[in-house]
């Protein structure tokens, strides 16, 4: 027997049992993405044609390294949420859908960890 009242069971949760969290995270990462995209485009413009030593040196600046980590983390989070919606919208065969959703999550995690490793290595390693 469920101990919760019918109202308590559904409060704040939709059919996905996650309420508005997905929608909200999409918006939070969208807003955060605006300044971070400006940073990313600016950084790439400033460092166009730079040597590897210059890129590594730029990452020694903690503000640049932290902003780059935030940029990749935010973009990848936003990407995972967006691709999830696209998969759920167009793929209606369960096993294919869940396989793609898993790949989507794995792809996002690999991207974040690889970028984090690269940025940290340049920033505090080498």
């Amino acid at each position: 027997m469920l101990k919760k009242t019918p109202l308590g069971q559904v409060l704040g949760l939709g059919s996905a049992k996650a309420g508005t969290e997905h929608w909200w995270h999409q918006r939070v990462t969208a807003i955060a993405g605006i300044p971070l995209v400006i940073f990313l485009v600016g950084y790439l413009l400033v460092h166009r044609g730079a040597s590897r030593a210059e890129i590594v040196a730029s990452m020694h600046n903690p503000i640049v390294a932290i902003l780059m980590v935030l940029t990749v983390f935010n973009l990848v989070w936003h990407m995972r949420l967006g691709l999830q919606v696209v998969i759920e919208d167009y793929v209606h065969t369960d096993h294919t859908k869940y396989a793609l959703l898993l790949i989507n999550t794995f792809f996002a995690v690999v991207m974040v960890v690889a970028a984090l490793y690269a940025i940290l290595k340049m920033s505090i390693g080498l």
Binding site: V37, R48, L75, A114
Partner: protein
């Protein structure tokens, strides 16, 4: 699945019966640029890991991005990123309940499209011209 039951039943209007509009096109483009930018993320992470690896590997990646086809691809991603960002701002305006009047929706679509093209050209003018 739908045809096995009553194929003759009235159906909701489907995508192909609507007259194409700018707002509809931009909605589709917003989704396409979003999906495409996932590949752009992969390129960004590739570039970052190359910079953290070795001079030879970084030079190789820079040569790929610096080739004419590499530049063309990066030009496309620049436009996709700017278009998706401006389109995202448009969605955020709707999220706070503003800009739903037809003329505002139409104006937003035109501004997004024009803005994305102008900003992309500016970014590449800086990138190619001043280097």
């Amino acid at each position: 699945m739908a045809d096995t039951r009553n194929a003759g039943r009235p159906l909701s209007p489907h995508l192909q019966v609507y007259k194409k509009s700018l707002t509809m096109t931009l909605s589709i483009v917003h989704r396409i640029t979003g999906v495409a930018l996932s590949a752009g993320t992969l390129l960004l992470v590739w570039w970052l890991t190359a910079a953290a690896t070795s001079d030879q590997y970084f030079d190789f990646v820079q040569a790929v991005f610096g080739s004419w086809i590499g530049k063309l691809v990066l030009f496309g991603f620049t436009w996709a990123l700017i278009h998706h960002t401006l389109g995202g701002i448009r969605h955020l305006v709707w999220d706070v309940g503003r800009g739903f009047e037809l003329k505002d929706v139409e104006m937003g679509a035109r501004l997004t499209l024009a803005g994305s093209i102008i900003l992309t050209v500016i970014v590449w003018a800086i990138s190619l011209g001043v280097s």
